[in-house]
């Protein structure tokens, strides 16, 4: 699914990633941990093909064209990135609209995604009318509505209280199990990582410090 070999990325004189190597197989749930500035977001941006590596090789499964590749990846952001002038339904429908899906297919897929994140009662509301947890649920529904093979979640619980954060991660775990989606989640929430007992790739100062199939937050 994702194979990184000696991946290096620099921003000027700052080395964001330094010879990072790992492999993620389809269907895995992987936590990417490390303190702020450790290179988690840089790694996710490389996988989203927002930026290119300076050295090393990153092999990604999917189409060659960037926009087509991104359609096969669902992304969840810490700040949700929902459009304020669109309703919950419209926000979730956005990736399908971009793909040029027909209205009937959009409707079917959006309703399924809404059911999965348990937001049926909020369909017509706008982002400003939702709580933090609900906003992240909408973002997750938007990420899964196209049934992507890979979900990238960049600190999805960063803006949430511990209880809501736990619910969101549980939701991502459910989606991973039900849809067999590969999930790569960047976080520095130790409780969540330790609770789920999934694979952990730990980064510090741009280097992989630990890669454990049933890891803990260190």
């Amino acid at each position: 699914m994702i194979s990184a070999q000696n991946l290096t990325k620099k921003f000027g004189r700052i080395i964001a990633l330094d010879s990072v190597s790992f492999d993620i197989t389809p269907g895995e749930f992987v936590f990417l941990t490390g303190p702020s500035g450790s290179g988690k977001t840089t790694l996710l941006r490389l996988i989203m093909r927002e930026i290119k590596p300076d050295a090393g090789k990153l092999t990604l499964q999917g189409p060659v064209k960037i926009h087509e590749y991104r359609r096969t990846v669902g992304t969840v952001f810490q700040d949700f990135k929902l459009l304020a002038d669109r309703s919950v339904y419209e926000n979730i429908a956005l990736p399908l609209e971009i793909m040029g899906a027909v209205s009937a297919d959009i409707d079917k897929a959006v309703k399924k995604a809404i059911d999965l994140v348990e937001l049926s009662a909020r369909t017509d509301l706008f982002p400003a009318q939702l709580s933090g947890g609900e906003l992240q649920r909408v973002a997750i529904a938007r990420a899964i509505v196209t049934r992507p093979k890979l979900i990238l979640a960049d600190e999805p619980t960063g803006n949430l209280d511990p209880k809501t954060a736990k619910t969101i991660v549980k939701l991502l775990s459910t989606i991973h199990e039900q849809l067999k989606t590969t999930v790569l989640m960047a976080t520095h929430n130790a409780n969540i990582v330790n609770h789920l007992g999934k694979r952990v790739i730990a980064l510090d100062l741009g280097k992989v410090t630990n890669d454990n199939p049933k890891g803990k937050y260190e």
Binding site: E68, R70, D85, A93, L94, E97, I98
Partner: protein, 292 residues
């Protein structure tokens, strides 16, 4: 599902002052364009009218009544030069009739004039206005011809005037089109900048450049189309209002009233021009951002 046009329309409604600025400058430019186009087209028609009129009048001596043979001889001499489009003989009686027609509103002028007082003449149209002088010189050599008049100066002056109108019009309208283009670029550029996060999100979700650009391009096109309709409407109203005065001013030159079909063609041209300026402005504004 939101179409690019409905997205563009909702963005216009959400920033009415920017839309007003864009439509105003577009209207001003297209109004100026339509005024210059109408003036240029009008002067071109006037020029054509004068070019097709008899351009050389050779008047016989007033005591001479030329015989048919004499007139035919002059005609054949002119025709052999190959410079002449048509030649027409106007007898003293026909001259009187023309005089009467021109002065029918003034009976006092009609009473004193008889056919004998007016000279017979030959009216000549040239194939090319530049040959008028040669034709006039040839007619002057005829012994029975007393006076030769030709409209070389009028036609030449009209041609110069028409060219000047075109040149000034093109320069002024061209400069305005450039300014309008820059303003549309700036206005849509501001909107693109305001929607930076939204555009980045679209890119992350796999949107193509075309998908992202389309609403901005449509926004520019809508500004252009609105400006074109307003500019056309105003210029048509002004034209209709001034038509009675212009008809009096251009007595005998049949270019007014302007046919509706012609005005609809002008509208089509303005819509196209407005759409191109607006659409291109929008496209460039968003492309600049996408490339950055």
């Amino acid at each position: 599902m939101n179409s690019p046009t409905s997205t563009a329309w909702s963005r216009i409604r959400r920033s009415p002052y920017q839309a007003l600025a864009a439509i105003s400058i577009m209207t001003m430019t297209l109004f100026l364009g339509s005024i210059f186009f109408l003036v240029a087209a009008g002067s071109q028609s006037v020029l054509k009218y004068f070019e097709t009129r008899p351009q050389v009048n050779a008047f016989f001596k007033s005591d001479v009544v030329p015989t048919t043979q004499a007139v035919d001889l002059i005609k054949s001499k002119l025709e052999t030069t190959g410079l002449v489009e048509s030649v027409r003989y106007v007898s003293k009686e026909e001259a009187l009739q023309i005089y009467k027609d021109l002065n029918k509103s003034d009976p006092l002028l009609l009473e004193a004039v008889t056919a004998n007082m007016l000279p017979a003449s030959i009216e000549v149209s040239a194939k090319n206005p530049s040959d008028l002088k040669t034709i006039a010189e040839a007619l002057k050599t005829e012994p029975d011809v007393e006076d030769v008049r030709f409209a070389e100066d009028i036609v030449n002056q009209l041609a110069v005037w028409t060219n000047s109108v075109r040149l000034i019009g093109f320069s002024l309208v061209g400069a305005h089109i450039f300014i309008t283009f820059i303003i549309i670029l700036l206005i849509i550029g501001i909107k693109v900048s305001n929607r930076r996060d939204e555009i980045v999100l679209y890119q992350l979700l796999g949107a193509t450049g075309g998908y992202i650009s389309a609403p901005f391009v449509w926004e520019g096109i809508l500004y252009g189309l609105t400006g074109a309709v307003i500019a056309w409407g105003v210029s048509y109203l002004i034209l209709l209002y001034s038509t009675p005065f212009l008809i009096r001013f251009l007595t005998g030159i049949p270019i007014l009233p302007v046919p509706v079909g012609f005005m609809l063609t002008v509208l089509g041209g303005e819509l196209l021009l407005g759409a191109v300026i607006g659409g291109l402005g929008g496209l460039l504004a968003v492309r600049r951002f996408l490339k950055a």
